[in-house]
């Protein structure tokens, strides 16, 4: 069957822009929003919260963009993520992308194809602006995302695993 409607792509960049590299996801989301691509819906958040499950339910594919605390390469990692049914942390209002997908599935019985784009960060101190490393990672991530989004929009699969730089992330806690 040939799809007659354009796939909806959701991009969620999250983190705190006042904690330097922690905000790289937000910076990425704001840049993607400037692309003015009507098939891409962009959200920027400090944390992932349960109500985003409703936004995910309306999407065909989703990209989460976040900082990754790491002194090791690669600068950018793109991992397929799958829903999980673990609850929220004890004292925290935030959920992980996997739990959010799990909420989406539990509530709406569907989930988009989802990926986590994590950008290596080295400075999470108080302040604004990205480190040189996060800046390089951001540029790389944006280039990769532009390609991925084009594929999603064309109804092509996002590069299937195994693929260099593309992995399936093991569920946290496993």
């Amino acid at each position: 069957m040939i799809a007659t409607t354009r796939p909806v792509i959701l991009v969620i960049g999250y983190g705190n822009p006042l904690r330097r590299d922690d905000g790289v996801g937000v910076v990425a989301a704001e840049e993607i929003e400037r692309w003015l691509d009507p098939s891409v819906r962009v959200l920027a958040r400090v944390q992932l919260t349960p109500d985003l499950a409703a936004d995910l339910a309306e999407a065909d594919s989703a990209f989460f963009i976040d900082a990754r605390s790491s002194l090791e390469p690669p600068e950018v990692r793109i991992e397929r993520i799958v829903p999980q049914a673990h609850g929220m942390a004890a004292m925290d209002h935030a959920v992980s992308p996997e739990t959010l997908l799990g909420l989406c599935r539990a509530l709406y019985e569907k989930t988009p194809e989802a990926y986590l784009v994590s950008i290596a960060s080295e400075d999470l101190g108080f302040g604004e602006g990205l480190s040189a490393r996060a800046t390089r990672g951001l540029a790389e991530a944006l280039a990769a995302l532009r390609d991925q989004i084009c594929r999603s929009r064309a109804g092509e699969p996002v590069l299937p695993p195994p693929c260099p730089g593309l992995e399936t992330r093991p569920s946290p806690g496993s």
């Binding site: 109500d51 539990a106 101190g125």
Partner: protein, 474 residues
């Protein structure tokens, strides 16, 4: 030049909330303390920044309640500019705060505490989470999400979809309600009301199962503080401070929030980065007080709207006037959602919501200002001192969760004393300690101005200091 700090080892997990339960020589609980091991940095970080940036900066203290900081910060700025902001701007700020209360309380009830309340404190931990709730009550869970989204939509309609709406600024706000906003919110109100009434009915239905929790989850005499309007009614944005005691007697009233320091002292505890505010006239720690929904319902004379007033009447009848159990924060939260919806509905016909007269423009006219508003979790104070150029010299933030610190400690101590027998922490007790803290709906990132996940560690310590058991969650 800004200094960069490299955190080594690099980690996103910055700390944890820890509970230490102390046993005496007889193995009985002699005390319990709730510590937050987090670094506070925002107050220092703000020094030297222009006043105009403060709403945007402080809104990023926390991802859950940015609006609360945005409003309190802007109000501190109003004081420093020495302006009366346009009436339309006041109404729009109020509307945003009401949206914030709805979305935050909905998250707390349906997602954070809902599993405890609706599935039971002793239910299987593997299922006693939001997924278990969805399996048991799918429609209620979906409604809870939509109720939160309704509150969020108010914030987005006013502030735009930017991550931190730099919408409320010293002197007023940047924009009114956009075209179609009024109609969109009116469409969402019926379901929001229905969900809130369903949740209230559900809570009343299940409340009798939680008799033991109601008497052990922080049921003690304390003062309560909140804002009230000129009639003594429930207030969330402006007004004056009122303190009442556990018998419902007013101990201080019509207090100008700018004079908070005459009434509120802040004690620093050696084992926690969370400050412990207390009511100064009674000293520390006797001046323990609570803020937030439980306190606001205790201090107000009326809610000021018909449905919420009816609920308040029933609530006070059930609990003989002043509710002292922290378990009742859950109930109070639902009544506040109802009041917020009624206030939102009333406001939607006001033509000022689309006015163009939204800002008072002025320079620095005072070197100090205090902005106060009721965040969902309780009264929030932003106190700034600036130089003649409007650069911040000093910041003091008194956060709602911090004001409940002493009460959270007392609650944890009470739960531990009530439930721990022997030298182990059973699973059900760990649940209840967590649930007791969760009744306050604490925002620990906010109160310590930090980010990251916040796991809970509970440690049982013998009289000689030996750690007998440690359990962690999250």
């Amino acid at each position: 030049m800004a200094q960069q700090i490299l955190i080594d080892p690099v980690t996103r997990i910055e700390g944890h909330a820890k509970v230490t339960v102390q046993l005496d020589d007889d193995g009985k609980v002699s005390g319990a303390r709730f510590h937050v091991a987090e670094f506070r940095g925002f107050e220092k970080f703000c020094e030297g920044r222009p006043l105009w940036e403060m709403p945007g900066i402080t809104a990023r203290v926390c991802g859950i309640c940015p609006v609360s900081h945005l409003l309190a910060s802007a109000k501190a700025g109003d004081k420093i500019l020495a302006v009366n902001i346009p009436p339309a701007a006041t109404k729009l700020r109020r509307l945003m705060n009401l949206g914030q209360i709805v979305q935050s309380h909905a998250l707390s009830f349906f997602h954070l505490s809902g599993p405890d309340l609706l599935l039971g404190m002793d239910s299987d931990p593997a299922r006693r989470n939001v997924f278990g709730l969805i399996a048991a009550e799918p429609e209620l869970a979906r409604r809870g999400i939509r109720l939160r989204k309704f509150g969020q939509e108010i914030i987005e309609l006013l502030g735009g979809k930017k991550i931190h709406p730099a919408w409320s600024v010293p002197g007023g706000v940047r924009a009114g309600l956009p075209p179609g906003g009024r109609e969109h919110l009116r469409e969402g109100l019926p379901e929001a009301y229905e969900t809130t009434r369903l949740a209230l009915a559900k809570f009343k239905e299940i409340f009798d199962r939680f008799h033991e929790e109601a008497i052990s989850f922080g049921d003690f005499a304390s003062l309560f503080m909140g804002l009230v309007n000129e009639h003594g009614d429930w207030e969330h944005y402006d007004g004056l401070l009122r303190f009442v005691n556990a018998d419902g007697e007013i101990v201080a009233d019509q207090v100008d929030p700018s004079h908070y320091a005459e009434y509120i002292g802040e004690a620093v505890q050696p084992d926690s980065y969370l400050k412990s505010p207390y009511y100064k006239p009674l000293g520390f720690p006797e001046g323990i007080y609570r803020v937030g929904p439980l306190a606001r319902l205790n201090v107000c004379t009326h809610m000021g709207t018909p449905q919420a007033d009816q609920e308040l009447k029933e609530y006070r009848y059930r609990f003989h006037g002043t509710a002292t159990s922290s378990f009742l924060y859950h109930y109070a939260r639902l009544i506040e959602i109802l009041a917020s919806l009624e206030h939102i509905e009333r406001m939607l016909d006001d033509p000022d919501l689309t006015s163009d007269h939204l800002r008072a423009v002025a320079g620095i006219n005072r070197l100090e200002g205090v902005g106060v508003s009721e965040a969902p979790r309780g009264t929030l104070f932003h106190h700034y001192q600036v130089d003649s150029h409007g650069l911040i010299r000093r910041v003091n933030l008194i956060i709602a969760t911090g004001q409940n610190n002493l009460a959270m400690n007392r609650t944890v101590s009470q739960i531990a004393s009530h439930y721990i027998r022997g030298r182990e922490i059973p699973e059900g007790v760990l649940n209840r300690i967590e649930a007791g803290i969760r009744a306050f709906d604490p925002c620990l990132s906010c109160s310590t101005h930090a980010v990251g996940a916040m796991p809970l560690v509970v440690r049982l310590v013998a009289a000689d200091g030996t750690v007998l058991q440690e359990r962690s969650r999250g």
